[in-house]
Symmetry: C2
Subunit: 327 residues, 2 copies
DNA sequence: TTGTACGCGTTATCAA
DNA sequence: TTGATAACGCGTACAA
């Protein structure tokens, strides 16, 4: 690794001068600057991030704590957050907790050790000790996808989303509505379910069946929906995520039901996968990419001590495709 | 941030002793150890990673350079790599280049600055200067998903995969076979195409049409397949990725073709999405998660200067589902 | 306009 | 068994 001393020697300057040109601070003559810049280029010099952070107190790194990266939703979120951070000159430290509290704790420790300047997180459990340690250390935090008590948050109104799901089906004349969802420990899923129940209650109804599972993979969701259909036969099924809805479509097909003729199905998220089925999935879209960008904006404002930005307006949008119809 | 001096003061020890217990090196009396461990716990002390890296020469961080995180395949790969690294006590520094050479260059710089102990990468372009800088800096590298000249690689044999795709269709009696793929600049996609062509040539055939596009999203793939079907009418279409194949299924449906009766479709990867369509997609599966784990294993061996492990056996597997049938 | 020297938080060497 | 201290690479007062 080439270091500042190597550049100084090569350019016939002192390390202080090299530091000045690298950081664009203080006065340096044009000739000296040119020599130093040349040396930097020739030796591919990179200031040691650790030493720099130690001196300056800022690592220019932001921790991004997500429950998973192999779940498409979070992969997309991670991607946009990372791109937004990059554009502002920050390095993302992306950590996937694999839904495990121990992982989360370990990662919080790693972030603290790395002296991250801030953290964007979608916590598995809101009571997680991880958040507390971060807060205690005075690290600015923005919660994403799901709110965290006492913290700035960038998240869609999942409860309202749940209402939209139910409302759409009610408008279509459905009265016998089932709900399939996963993972059951996910706060957004629970909030959507509450929204569904509330909207249905407003019409004097209740879900004819609710099936929540721990696993959110395709097969688990399909099995969940299949179990539901084995017990009751609603005219519509709400998936609390697109994945759950897609599982429901397959469960229906497995039982010889034609969607949407015999059964309407609606999902939530509008992931790319919502377009994969035939007919394509009707769903309530949440603006994942805007969420990521808004979270980064808010975090940077927090980090720079700027006045808190107003909460972002994150619109949910009903995307009517082919899996819902009149009863 | 609490530092080693705070612990020393609190436990009535010297920083040297604290360092010893924290790192489990050297002799420390039981009493002293207990006092220090208590202080560490009470103050939630984390050794500063930067200072540690500076002193010890190792950052215990591994760079993971991927073209994207919002593409499900890479999200899964990132996840497994990250988990495997975590299990071995390493921190992953995940960077998504968004397929841009400038991003890649910037990230390589950041990795060098962070003093990463090694790098796992799926390079956008094999001629990338990024690789050169990493090699020049003596950083151990393992290429993943696609080989890189002169480097250890963990990747499936995409050419053989291409042959399997064609072989399956030939065995089913197909003679008029089209190919749809994206992104066209992807080396794996090109290799699979070469494999397809080779296998077809062995039967005295050539693809009736090949359509490669730059974008690999659903809509782009669908449009590509639709254009192909507008020109010729093969009895089967090979997608060089599952995404392309799913696009083909939709293009076929859009033209009133029934899969697999009128048109067989086969994909590559076996992503979760391969199960979302009805009928479910026949595809050649590559073991993504094994790839990620094997890459980590190989990199750690390299980093520890161990003898190079033999190249991993990464089996491709034909998964016959519902989208292919006899002509 | 440039250079010297100190300190950031650790680890490791050497003495005690 | 413990402690004082010299690096590690950098940024920045301060001196020149």
């Amino acid at each position: 690794m080439t270091k500042i001393r190597d550049i100084a020697k090569r350019a016939g300057a002192s390390i202080a001068t090299v530091s000045r040109v690298v950081n664009g601070s203080g006065y340096v003559s044009a000739g000296m600057r040119a020599r130093i810049e040349a040396a930097v280029r020739e030796l591919d010099y990179r200031p040691n991030a650790g030493a720099r952070a130690m001196r300056s107190g800022s690592s220019r790194m932001v921790g991004v704590l997500l429950p998973a990266l192999d779940v498409h939703f979070f992969g997309i979120l991670a991607h946009t957050v990372e791109q937004a951070l990059f554009a502002r000159g920050y390095q993302a430290m992306i950590c996937s907790t694999a839904e495990s509290p121990e992982h989360e704790a370990a990662y919080v420790g790693a972030m603290l050790a790395q002296q991250v300047d801030g953290v964007i997180m979608a916590a598995v459990a809101s009571d997680g000790a991880g958040v507390g340690r971060l807060v205690a250390a005075g690290v600015p935090i923005v919660a994403v996808d799901r709110a965290l008590p006492g913290l700035a948050a960038v998240a869609v109104d999942h409860h309202a989303g749940g209402r939209m799901l139910a409302r759409h089906l009610l408008d279509l004349g459905h009265r016998a509505i089932g709900v399939v969802g996963a993972p059951d420990h996910s706060a957004p899923v629970q909030e959507r379910l509450a929204g569904i129940t509330a909207e249905l209650a407003g019409a004097g109804l209740a879900p004819v069946a609710v099936r929540l599972g721990a696993e959110h993979g395709f097969e688990a969701c399909r099995a969940l929906a299949d179990a539901l259909l084995g017990e009751v036969l609603p005219t519509a099924i709400i998936g609390t995520t697109d994945m759950a809805a897609i599982g429901a479509i397959h469960a229906a097909a497995g039982r010889g039901l034609v969607v949407p003729r015999d059964l309407s199905v609606i999902g939530f998220d509008d992931l790319p996968a919502a377009r994969y089925t035939i007919p394509q999935l009707t769903t309530v879209a949440q603006p994942v990419r805007e969420i990521g960008q808004a979270a980064v904006e808010r975090l940077l404002a927090l980090m720079e001590g700027k006045p808190a930005l107003p909460p972002p307006v994150l619109a949910l949008r009903l995307v009517e495709r082919g899996t819902t119809g009149r009863v």
